[in-house]
């Protein structure tokens, strides 16, 4: 016990020492929100920022809060920006609305802006392999047969976007010095062996602060969970004189308290089987936020302990309250509890469709050919919505671009040319690259737009089938 204490002290001492040199900061937040169908949305977000010069060489030889493992990987392999998500389950837009953080597809999704050098291809390969080792995931399977380079769908989120002020003339276009690489493994199952190395990147690990609640047994017993890390360069000021490297780590889960108790009530203890014992000492900001539902007659609730601080946020027309708990000030052990005045939760029979959502599904039967259909719904009554549809299809589905049809099934009668602003298509090459389809669509108000395309299923060599061939292939 004493030994642990000693080590903790020395770690704190080290951290303080480097803080003075490297100028780092660390924030942590937990956001909770009750969803319309009784589920509970929890979102952990940990942000580490480091002042740096992108060209600086010995950047990560001394490190404090910013994890050395990530820093060295992105520096060694020339990644300007890195986004990696591990997701299991499907985000249910009909019932849950939009997620707070960027939503990702099932499995593993990785995209990075890589500095354009001669060794960009080996760098990307090395990056996927390094991340594969770091997160105990099969990221090394993101090879050239899966990697794509979308043209329209992704924008760098780094400093240049920060100053996307139209008054500012962009100094240099980010696409000048870096290229996008994108790969996804929809088959990958995400589990505790991915979470453990992810937690190790945090300065307080799972010992203090909101990260205490990251209990793998509970997090993976949920309807949806998504774990992500995003590394990007950001600006500290408007003119971008000071640059920072930002690492955002998030864990998003959708719990189902109704499944256990038939009521919506929850507490940290019931959700995570843990309480927050102490706050993280190195965090400059350590908070728990609860987005409070509006109180109506049949929707009365109470929250314990009551918040000493609260904020307001706007959703469309109405304003809602947010309870804010600063972990530096709360009484420990801290257990938050929310109780509804209801005997049993009545499931809402009317789904609350968000204004804009999409469905993708396969058509056809047999092992020879099939089709892919996407319905994109725009429920906005009077606004045209521009969207970019991006799909990267593995080579073993041979797409026929001439069968691509875009039509509006209800709403106004619109010509195909008015719907599609721009299309980028890269046909697949057998055993070496995927098909990439990107379309810039303008969805008319209050309409369902259907995109469909036909494909042939390629006959594979016996070695090219995945293990458990009868399960089929996942197409992300």
């Amino acid at each position: 016990m004493q030994l642990t204490h000693l080590i903790t002290q020395s770690i704190v001492a080290c951290t303080v020492a480097t803080l003075a040199v490297a100028k780092e900061s660390f924030d942590e937040e937990l956001v909770l929100k009750s969803l319309a169908d009784g589920k509970l949305f929890t979102h952990f977000q940990f942000t580490t920022r480091l002042d740096y010069e992108p060209s600086g060489d010995a950047l990560f030889s001394h490190y404090g809060l910013f994890p050395k493992a990530i820093g060295q990987i992105i520096q060694r392999y020339g990644a300007r920006e890195l986004h990696l998500t591990f997701t299991q389950g499907r985000w249910n837009y009909e019932d849950w609305g939009y997620p707070i953080a960027q939503s990702a597809g099932t499995g593993v999704e990785l995209w990075a802006w890589m500095y354009r050098t001669e060794s960009i291809e080996p760098n990307w390969k090395a990056l996927t392999n390094a991340l594969s080792g770091l997160f105990c995931a099969s990221l090394n399977f993101i090879d050239e047969t899966i990697t794509s380079r979308p043209r329209m769908s992704f924008r760098p989120e780094g400093f240049y976007n920060e100053q996307a002020d139209p008054m500012h003339e962009r100094q240099d276009d980010p696409s000048d010095d870096s290229e996008l690489r994108y790969g996804s493994l929809p088959h990958e199952s995400v589990c505790t062996e991915n979470l453990t190395p992810w937690i190790k990147l945090l300065p307080c690990k799972a010992k203090a602060g909101v990260s205490t609640l990251l209990n793998a047994h509970k997090l993976y017993d949920t309807n949806f969970h998504s774990m992500a890390i995003h590394v990007r360069p950001v600006c500290k000021d408007v003119d971008c004189n000071q640059k920072q490297l930002e690492l955002v780590q998030t864990v998003t889960s959708v719990f189902d308290p109704v499944r256990v108790t038939a009521r919506r009530e929850w507490s940290f203890q019931s959700l995570f089987d843990r309480k927050i014992e102490r706050s993280c000492a190195v965090a400059s900001l350590s908070r728990v936020l609860v987005l409070l539902p509006t109180i109506t007659e049949d929707n009365a609730w109470q929250i314990f302990p009551s918040a000493d601080d609260s904020m307001m946020y706007k959703v469309g027309e109405e304003t809602r309250q947010v309870a804010v708990y600063d972990l530096a000030k709360v009484h420990v052990p801290f257990d938050l509890q929310m109780i509804w005045q209801e005997h049993i939760f009545l499931f809402p029979l009317q789904p609350s469709f968000p204004p804009f959502f999409a469905h993708r599904y396969f058509t056809g039967y047999g092992q020879e050919r099939g089709g892919l259909t996407v319905n994109i719904v725009n429920q906005n009554p009077n606004e045209t919505v521009p969207v970019i549809y991006f799909d990267s299809i593995p080579w073993y589905l041979k797409l026929y671009l001439h069968t691509l049809k875009v039509s509006v099934t209800w709403g106004q009668d619109v010509r195909q040319d008015d719907l599609i602003k721009q299309t980028y298509y890269q046909p697949a090459v057998d055993r070496s690259r995927p098909s990439v389809l990107e379309m810039w669509l303008t969805l008319p108000p209050n309409s369902v737009t259907t995109v469909s395309i036909e494909f042939d299923k390629v006959f594979l060599k016996y070695t090219e089938h995945r293990p458990d061939a009868n399960r089929g292939f996942d197409v992300g």
Binding site: Y400, L401, Y425, P427, V429, D430, R431, D456, F459, K461
Partner: protein
């Protein structure tokens, strides 16, 4: 006789083209269309080409650039033009076969004959045309819009012009056929033999010079076609996407041939070796046949077309339709054939069970790849048996013609 023959053939084809359920089903059957002759893939290639996406930079389109030019042109015309083009091509093939038969009968008329053949009339030339036009295989292949029909037409045109003594045109059409589907390159030898034996009547030029001239013509035409293609698409990518796929078999879609199953199951380290073996095997018959049967070059063409139809990497029933059309030209051999009943049954058996086993494997899921492969083996055994039988008939008849005294004598092997 001819119009009476062509009008119903033309009408059947157009009628089938206008029943979408039939035309679309045929266009997607693996027995009829292959990755290198599929009209759907051609449409895709054309679409990519017109959308300024390089059509050969992808895994879908494996057909010659000249099709892009031809069908781009046809796109400006009403949509009925394409079925008419296909039907007319088939009619042309039948007409040329009739002409070839007439010419062949004139040539063989002065050759030594068997006693029983004297006074007997050979097959009516129009029957040869009719046998092609009303062969279900050629009708199905035509209605599927398989681009193989253009290769078949080129081969028939080459034989026709070679018989006319038109060296340049004859070699052009062989070059065209080899340009379209690579394997007909082996037909250079029999076509030159036709020109040499019967085409160059009364000429004083040395035989060696004629051969050299023909080979040069072939090389020039082929180079010209390839260069024209390069000009059309602006890169040499098409070489890999067309001939590369035919040679290296990168698309393993099943067909009626022998390659796909082997190369799906093959251990990777043996792949290059067996590719060489399989491809060499298809070509290896060209030289011995041309040497042994140099007096019967049309027959050599028939044999080589048959071998192509069995041993090429992406065969379809359209290949069988072509060599089966050449068979009745040599009607004098039919009386020597021994396995007619067996061969006919094997063909019928395969054509009934082929689609059934395909359905069991791909759609019902109650069968597997072995079912379909087994039935393609039966089909190929039928074809091989037919070729062996015809070859035997040819050799036996030649022997009998040369040794009329041995007829009716017993042969004892010691």
């Amino acid at each position: 006789m001819s119009p009476l023959l062509y009008i119903p053939a033309f009408a059947i084809r157009l009628a089938l083209f206008h029943i979408p359920a039939i035309a679309e089903t045929l266009a997607s059957r693996v027995e009829i269309v292959t990755p290198i002759t599929s009209y759907k893939r051609l449409t895709e290639g054309l679409y990519l080409f017109e959308s300024h996406v390089p059509p050969y930079d992808g895994g879908v389109f494996h057909q010659s650039p000249i099709f892009l030019a031809l069908f781009q042109l046809l796109n400006f015309l009403p949509s009925i033009t394409v079925p008419i083009l296909y039907a007319l091509t088939d009619i042309t093939i039948a007409y040329l076969l009739t002409e070839i038969t007439t010419k062949k009968q004139a040539i063989y008329g002065v050759k030594p004959k068997l006693e029983v053949e004297k006074g007997a009339k050979g097959i009516e030339p129009w029957v040869v045309g009719a046998l092609y036009l009303f062969n279900p295989l050629s009708i199905l292949s035509c209605v599927s819009k398989s681009t193989l029909i253009f290769t078949n037409a080129s081969i028939v045109l080459a034989v026709y012009y070679a018989l006319q003594g038109e060296k340049s045109l004859g070699m052009f059409w062989v070059a065209m056929a080899s340009y379209l589907s690579f394997y007909p390159a082996m037909l250079v030898a029999p076509i030159i033999l036709i020109i040499l034996n019967w085409g160059a009547n009364g000429s004083t030029i040395l035989k060696k010079d004629i051969v050299l001239h023909c080979v040069l013509l072939y090389a020039t035409w082929l180079a010209a076609l390839l260069f024209l293609s390069y000009q059309l698409v602006g890169s040499w990518d098409f070489m890999g996407a067309t001939y590369g796929v035919i040679i290296f078999l990168s698309d393993l879609t099943p067909n009626v041939g022998l390659f796909w199953y082997f190369f799906i199951e093959m251990f990777d380290q043996f792949r290059p070796f067996f590719l060489v073996v399989f491809q060499l095997h298809a070509f290896i018959f060209a030289a011995p046949l041309s040497i042994k049967l140099s007096e019967h070059p049309i027959f050599v063409t028939f044999m080589l077309c048959g071998i192509m139809g069995i041993f090429k990497s992406y065969p379809s029933i359209g290949d069988a339709a072509l060599y089966l059309a050449f068979l009745p030209i040599h009607d004098e051999l039919l009386k020597y054939m021994r396995y007619g009943f067996l061969t006919a049954n094997l063909f019928l058996y395969a054509s009934t069970l082929g689609p059934i086993f395909w359905h069991l494997w791909i759609y019902a899921g109650s069968g597997n790849a072995n079912f379909f492969y087994a039935i393609t083996l039966v089909y190929n055994i039928g074809q091989i048996l037919l070729l062996v039988d015809v070859m035997y008939a040819m050799l036996r008849r030649s022997f009998d013609v040369e040794h009329p005294e041995s007829l009716g004598k017993e042969v004892v092997q010691k």
